[in-house]
Amino acid sequence: MIDCAMNEARVAEVQDPELHDLVLHDIEALDRVYRARLLRYVAYLVGDLDLAETIVQDCLLKAYNGRDGFRGECSVYTWLVHIATNLMRDHQRTRKFQFWRKVQKTGPDLSELAGLLPSRESSPESQVLACERAEQVSVVLETLSPNQRAIFLMRFMDEMDLQEICEVTGMRISTVKTHLHRAVKAVRLKLGGRAG
């Protein structure tokens, strides 16, 4: 029953309130459905894999322990991103984090996946080009401000609506659009586009 619910949840992005309950009341389902997405989001934001894994585990536990407080006004993933964002803020306030951030930077390394792209790109040359393009976007992300990076990831990686982004970040929609606009402009410039 839970396995079936998990598969459906992966496909339907857990929009059904009954599936919300099923996923939220089983820590394994919650973990399997959301941990990869959460790790991607958090790892690109904090730039430290060990810390990102810690935050994701903490986020899942916090969500599970506080599942009674979930009112279903948004999707489960939006709720989890909200919790993860607060946890990241807590970590980033500590001086220990700032020190280790200067000492080491071990963000996601996409080059290790150079040969693992699915068959959307047919030829090896196309795959190499796709990897290069993805690497360029990854490099641009490091130059963005935390807000711009977070909003870019939420919009283009997690495909969240602008309204959902507003709920998670607590910003107005005009502010969100401004951050997105600047992030897109930086990506365009990196990819050889012209700024209009």
Binding site: I27, D31, Q57, Q136, S138, K185
Partner: protein, 260 residues
Amino acid sequence: MNKHLERKNADSLELQAKECQAGIERRTGVERLQASLKAGTARLRASQSVDREQIDREQLVADSEQMKEDFAQMQADCNLHLSDEQFTELLLGEIPVGAQAHLLTCAQCSDEAERVLDAIGDFAQQSRLWAERRTASWPIPVVDRRIALGGRFHLPAWMLRSQAQLRPQMWLVAALTLALVSGGGFSLHRGYVSSVQRAVAIAPVSQSAAVAPATLKADNELLSAIDGELRADESASASQYGLDVSSSVGRNRTAKRIAN
């Protein structure tokens, strides 16, 4: 009588003639009116057609001006390319009408939009693969089952932390333990070595104090006898190779030992 009858007939004939004349006059008037009406209608129609032509002409001029403006706008759109705002809206899926028309005509902007969208798509795909691969070997977060079973029991927060969360602290504890163990072992080793050294340093004194001169003399004799035998063996074996062992190291060492 006849005259009276003739006069009546003449009057009636005159009346009839007058009536005929009046009828003829009325008919001609109607005909005239009809003719004039026809002429008026014709003139009216003619004037109306002139108005229509005028109106049509004005409409055509207005339309052509509008078309000129549209064409100029399209030309301006083609020459200006998409602005940053339009480009962002395009990536967000909100395609403005002007941008859509521009993309149909401008290869540069359409190529750029396609390139940026492809790059973002590739990045999303690769980062998703990376995250799935990274989390494939993760342990599932450890949750206290008493909490999962109804929430009646509450443990302190630090007890609910997962293994991964405690990783830095665990490494710290492991490092401290290792340091303590290695430091303790080193100190034990140093203590042992010093005790042995003390024992070695003290032992000759106690032995020299305990051994009697007679025993010492007997030992020296025994050692000198052994030394003599050894020297004989050495000289025999060395003489085969033409060597002289009269001043060998072993003898000196034995002599020193005996002197002590």
